[in-house]
């Protein structure tokens, strides 16, 4: 097979993986700092997770078990194709179960189940710079990070309160990592922000188009920015998941018909399925027989 000569484990060539691993090590050493790296072209468009895929390709080994989620779901196009991609190019085991996975690549969510030591959460990041929409100059934002000038971040939150009466930022909510760098946690809902704080899992962030990698090492303090008189708070939902009855989880709104019918279900599909398998049932759910 002449294909063998050009095949390399996990798609990227070894030199590229080394380069990305060096960037990851630096990112872990300086929590929250955006490390530039030589992002490669991937067989997918920018914005579909090229940064996350490059990180996953660089850290994955033959014994790893990979889970990929998109907005919390294992069965959306992006999640399915990235999972199939690694099953093909790295021949690794894949799973949808959060607790079975050693690497979880994610877009826009952190799984509901608490991540444990040894697990790695890889985020796909569109815009890594939290100050970008306030200060368009890269030279200036870098200086601001270097000198720890983060007053501008609060200008954004001030603006939220002035216009809406409360902090209206609901996703990509800025955090301060290890008391030093202000970081954009990628567009996860702020509901997930507290899960980053002192997490046992390693969290890696890859932005392919913007060519930046950053990280939160395990057991690192991650604090969401706020005002003394307008403290950080997460979204709350006034009802449980319609399928599994879970409370204190992040819910998606699903339109059922064109007559205003709607239901709210867990955005984390694995979490929802697991609960239903155990016999939990919500108001629109169907009782399942518990597995033997």
């Amino acid at each position: 097979m002449s294909d063998l000569a050009t095949y390399n484990f996990a798609y990227l060539d070894e030199q590229t993986k080394r380069m990305i691993r060096r960037a990851i090590l630096k990112a872990i050493a300086i929590p929250g700092y955006q490390v530039p790296f030589a992002s490669r072209e991937m067989p997918m468009p920018y914005g579909w997770g090229t940064g996350g895929v490059q990180i996953t390709a660089s850290i994955i080994g033959p014994d790893d078990v990979l889970k990929v989620i998109d907005q919390g779901a294992d069965d959306t196009t992006n999640a399915v194709s990235i999972r199939a991609f690694f099953a093909k190019v790295a021949n690794v085991a894949v799973t949808t179960h959060t607790h079975d996975a050693s690497i979880i690549q994610t877009r826009h969510r952190i799984p509901e189940k608490t991540l444990l030591e040894g697990q790695v959460l890889v985020y796909q990041v569109p815009i890594p710079e939290p100050l970008r929409f306030l200060e368009p100059r890269e030279t200036e934002t870098r200086t601001m990070h270097a000198l720890e000038e983060y007053g501008l971040m609060h200008v954004k939150l001030y603006e939220d309160i002035a216009l809406n009466g409360h902090i209206a930022t609901t996703y990509a909510y800025p955090v301060k990592v290890a008391g030093r760098y202000v970081m954009d946690p990628s567009p996860i809902p702020k509901f997930d922000n507290p899960k980053m704080h002192l997490s046992e899992a390693l969290q890696l962030f890859g932005a392919g188009r913007e060519k930046r990698i950053y990280a939160i090492p395990p057991h690192t303090a991650v604090v969401s920015l706020d005002f003394e008189d307008h403290p950080f708070e997460v979204q709350t939902f006034d009802r449980p998941c319609a399928l599994c009855g879970a409370e204190d989880v992040y819910l998606d709104e699903v339109i059922l018909d064109d007559k205003g019918g709607r239901m709210f279900v867990c955005s984390d599909t694995d979490h929802c399925e697991e609960r239903r398998a155990c016999g939990c049932v919500g108001e629109l759910g169907v009782k399942q027989e518990a597995a033997e």
């Binding site: 001030y158 603006e159 002035a162």
Partner: protein, 258 residues
């Protein structure tokens, strides 16, 4: 005014290749004093202002500032972090074009309050009330606090810029043609406002202008620049009423009479 200067400039020069921006300028500024730098376009006024306000490193010379602890520090020997901290606490800079000094896409209140947040204030209510106080002081009505400056007139933008700079109680303010581009009635009110604020707060001001009337109204002392050099300096009234250099005489006699 006290006996110790606030600001000492010694032999500052700036060269752009073979061309001269400004050459060998020295002066001292005392607390509460307003110094006007006048001259025609291209005479090096703005280059000098940028050099002494750390916005443009000079080719030669030193700029010293008396910190709050009474010690003189050479601005260009400070770390960048210290310099930037100084610029947003103890100093102000009022640009000719308000769009350069304001964030046009955030509200007036946030513009005014930004410096407070930059020095670590984290109480929304306090920041907002201080910002409101300052807007009132510069005659911007309180119901405009949540409007963006792009919805403001030129005069209002300039007043907002002044409020934004003064909110941290600076001791030294640089102004680059603060009334340029405003019509005369708006200009008159702005000058009135600047004058009363300077008096009330005891600010030291370095103001660059080509408008001798503005210099006469605001400043105690003035320097006349030509081709990058200071050719004449002295009390404002003396320079304007009894100019010694031929060029200053020409400048003074060029003022249009109504």
């Amino acid at each position: 005014m006290t006996d110790t200067p606030l600001f000492k400039v010694n032999g500052v020069s700036k060269f752009y290749g073979a061309r001269t921006g400004c050459a060998d300028v020295s002066f001292e500024l005392y607390p509460g004093e307003v110094l006007a730098i006048v001259g025609e376009s291209g005479s090096g006024k703005t280059t000098l202002l940028n050099c002494v306000s750390t916005r443009l490193p000079p080719s030669a010379g030193s700029v010293e500032y008396r910190m709050r602890d009474g010690q003189f520090r050479d601005l260009y020997r400070m770390s960048e972090a210290e310099r930037r901290f100084l610029m947003r606490t103890d100093w102000g800079f009022v640009h000719q074009n308000p769009a350069d000094g304001l964030r046009m896409t955030v509200s007036a209140g946030a513009n005014a309050g930004e410096r407070l947040m930059a020095i670590g204030q984290r109480h929304y209510g306090n920041i907002r009330s201080t910002a409101a106080e300052w807007l009132e002081r510069v005659e911007i009505s309180i119901d405009r606090i949540d409007d963006q400056p792009r919805a403001f007139s030129g005069g209002m933008r300039q007043r907002l810029q002044i409020a934004r700079n003064l909110i941290t109680g600076p001791r030294l303010v640089f102004m680059d043609e603060p009334t340029g581009g405003l019509d005369v009635s708006v200009q008159a009110r702005l000058l009135d406002l600047i004058r009363s604020l300077v008096n009330d707060l005891g600010l030291a001001v370095i103001i660059v202008t080509h408008d001798l009337a503005v210099a006469r109204l605001l400043s105690h002392r003035m320097m006349v620049m030509r081709n990058g050099r200071v050719i004449e300096s002295g009390l404002t009234d003396r320079v304007l009423d009894d100019p010694r250099e031929p060029y200053t005489q020409l400048l003074v006699s060029s003022i249009l009479q109504v």
